[in-house]
């Protein structure tokens, strides 16, 4: 059995609004990533993907609060650690995060190397300028970025190059797990491909041991991830291998998501894209039953009253629906 790099058990986190209302944006999420694997997280805007990413790092600051659950990174349980300790010893070393608008993180008034210096010294103030430069140069070369970038200001770099620079900075202390939150959604297709290739190379060379990739672009996720988790209104509704999730989704929501894929391949023009009607529920007071019931084509009477657990079906495959596998498959065959 391969080494488990990140394990999360029943993690629940909430936002507290200024009227003291609780919004559970991550609701009893469990996941496990083995060494060398990439886990993809899909879902529409506002479903809690980015909150999950933040929660996974164990670094909470208001309005985000920890409620329950455990986070174990490579055997080390970081649950209940003080935020300051997490920042110093976990972030960047054990687990790193690339936010959505990562390229805006670069300081426009400082050279890239000075920015790296700040990052490294925040973790270990004893590093000298020379050490930082040598280390940065070595890791930039390993990641296939020109070392000249180090001496440049962010304005001198293109969007794609900035994004790759930020990724290189995020992994400068060789973390074990990397969380990439929409790392390429602001880029055009060619720069996107370069970013993805860089992430793939980092995984293959063992520079990082495991990755969580978050996006709403399903074709991209299919190409990057080994396993896909589909998230809806703070809950995981389906977990499957990338292939199963795209070609044989079980949950009606995943099925709907896969129906919105647009790729330039023959056959696309013959299918009609079907959008899922309606909007996700307000998480301030989520529905008692299945959270997708309001928008579901196959809704039953009991869906709206009983909450649905995540059913395990086979190895690494689970879904959250009261209908059985065969019932769902039959419904999809008739529905199309």
């Amino acid at each position: 059995m391969a080494r488990v790099m990140l394990e999360v058990r029943d993690l629940t986190t909430k936002y507290v609004t200024r009227y003291k209302e609780d919004v559970y944006a991550v609701d009893h999420v469990s996941l496990k990533i083995e060494e060398g694997k990439t886990l993809g997280i899909a879902g529409e805007s506002g479903c809690g993907k980015s909150t999950l990413a933040l929660s996974l790092m164990g670094y909470y600051f208001p309005p985000l609060h920890y409620t329950s659950g455990e986070i174990i990174i490579d055997g080390q349980n970081i649950t209940g650690m003080k935020p300051d300790d997490v920042r110093k010893s976990i972030l960047g070393r054990e687990i790193a995060y690339i936010p959505q608008a990562a390229m805006n993180a670069l300081n426009p008034t400082r050279k890239v190397i000075d920015f790296i210096g700040d990052v490294v010294r925040a973790h270990d103030p004893t590093w000298t300028k020379k050490m930082i430069y040598d280390h940065a140069r070595a890791s930039f070369e390993m990641l296939g970025l020109p070392a000249e970038v180090l001496q440049k200001y962010p304005v001198e770099l293109s969007g794609g190059m900035k994004q790759r620079t930020v990724i290189a900075v995020a992994v400068i202390l060789s973390p074990k797990v990397l969380i990439a939150d929409e790392p390429s959604s602001a880029l055009d297709v060619t720069s996107q491909k370069m970013v993805i290739k860089m992430l793939r190379d980092m995984m293959e060379s063992g520079f990082i041991k495991a990755m969580i990739f978050i996006t709403h672009e399903l074709p991209l996720l299919y190409n990057v991830a080994d396993e896909i988790m589909v998230m809806y209104a703070g809950q995981i509704v389906e977990h499957a291998s990338a292939k199963q999730a795209v070609f044989d989704p079980l949950h009606p929501y995943s099925k709907g998501l896969m129906g919105s894929i647009i790729v330039p391949e023959s056959g696309l023009r013959d299918v009609k894209l079907v959008a899922i009607p309606g909007v996700p529920p307000n998480l301030k007071n989520p529905p008692a039953g299945c959270r997708f019931a309001e928008r579901c084509k196959y809704v039953q009477a009991e869906c709206k009253v009983t909450s649905v657990p995540l059913y395990e079906v086979g190895y690494n495959r689970s879904y959250r629906c009261i209908l059985s596998e065969t019932q769902l498959r039959r419904a999809y065959e008739h529905g199309e």
Binding site: Q192, P219, S260, P264
Partner: protein
């Protein structure tokens, strides 16, 4: 439906140059095109290829440095502001960012009432106007009763973009230019927006011009596709011909850079 004989918008040698001397940039370089009535056209290119500059010239928002644009076979004349307004009755646009397309201080009713006034319905009685607005909103699956008296910032991005389409439904222009209409919206709402735009074309027979970098989207919606690189059209033709059998290396690269699900995505060619 689509009348492919009637030329709607065409141009010869259309060029735009920004700056002078050392800073001279050729943004659009002698492009020729012919868009027919009722056709859906896509102009595909990477960032900086000049596709938005071309769209702005088509809209008459910026001047054309060289070349001519013809509207319905006649040379386009927008020399006076009266003529420009007349032209804008025929050509309208939807932009990338719905959040900055509205005036924050105006209620949603004002946006729609403006459209009614623009097509000459300013003197209609109030209930007739409400009827028109309700019809337009229901076209994009919004309820006018829920929107009236609200401000734009109270809507979500998808709703705003749909309201933009409702505007177009009221105006019924001959041509609609959609500049990256779905790039700020997530993949799930994208299908809805595209559906409404295509429905609009089917009902009113307008010409739709998509400006996009998403070649998958271009393939899904369009009848013909123009591929733009460095201000020039490198390849054009029917969607099937261009996307499935690309001739130019640039087009091939653009297609190979898009992640796909049925074919292997080759990462070694970066």
């Amino acid at each position: 439906m689509a009348n492919r004989e009637n030329l709607c918008l065409s141009g010869t040698g259309v060029t735009k140059v920004f700056g002078f001397g050392r800073h001279r940039t050729l943004a659009v370089d002698h492009v020729d095109f012919a868009f027919h009535e009722g056709e859906i056209v896509s102009i595909v290119g990477e960032s900086g290829s000049g596709k938005t500059t071309l769209a702005k010239m088509l809209l008459g928002l910026i001047s054309v440095t060289e070349g001519e644009i013809y509207f319905q076979g006649k040379k386009r004349d927008i020399s006076s502001s009266r003529k420009k307004k007349e032209y804008w009755r025929n050509i309208q646009a939807i932009f990338q960012d719905p959040f900055s397309a509205y005036n924050t201080f105006h209620k949603i009713d004002a946006v729609l009432l403006d459209c009614i006034r623009m097509r000459g319905g300013g003197n209609l009685p109030r209930d007739k106007k409400v009827e028109l607005m309700t019809e337009a909103c229901s076209f994009v699956n919004l309820k006018f009763a829920e929107l009236t008296n609200k401000y734009p910032f109270e809507l979500s991005g998808g709703q705003m973009q749909r309201l933009m389409i409702a505007r177009i439904f009221l105006l019924k222009p001959k041509i609609l230019i959609a500049d990256e209409p779905t790039s700020m919206i997530d993949a799930c709402s994208r299908a809805t927006i595209l559906d409404y735009l295509m429905k609009l074309r089917d009902e009113t027979g307008m010409t739709l011009i998509f400006i996009t970098h998403d070649i998958g989207l271009a393939y899904y919606v369009s009848d013909s596709v123009y591929i733009m690189e460095h201000g020039r059209f490198v390849e054009s033709g029917s969607a099937d011909a261009v996307i499935l059998h690309p001739q130019q290396p640039y087009t091939r690269r653009l297609i190979s850079d898009v992640p796909k699900i049925y074919e292997e995505w080759d990462l070694s060619t970066v």
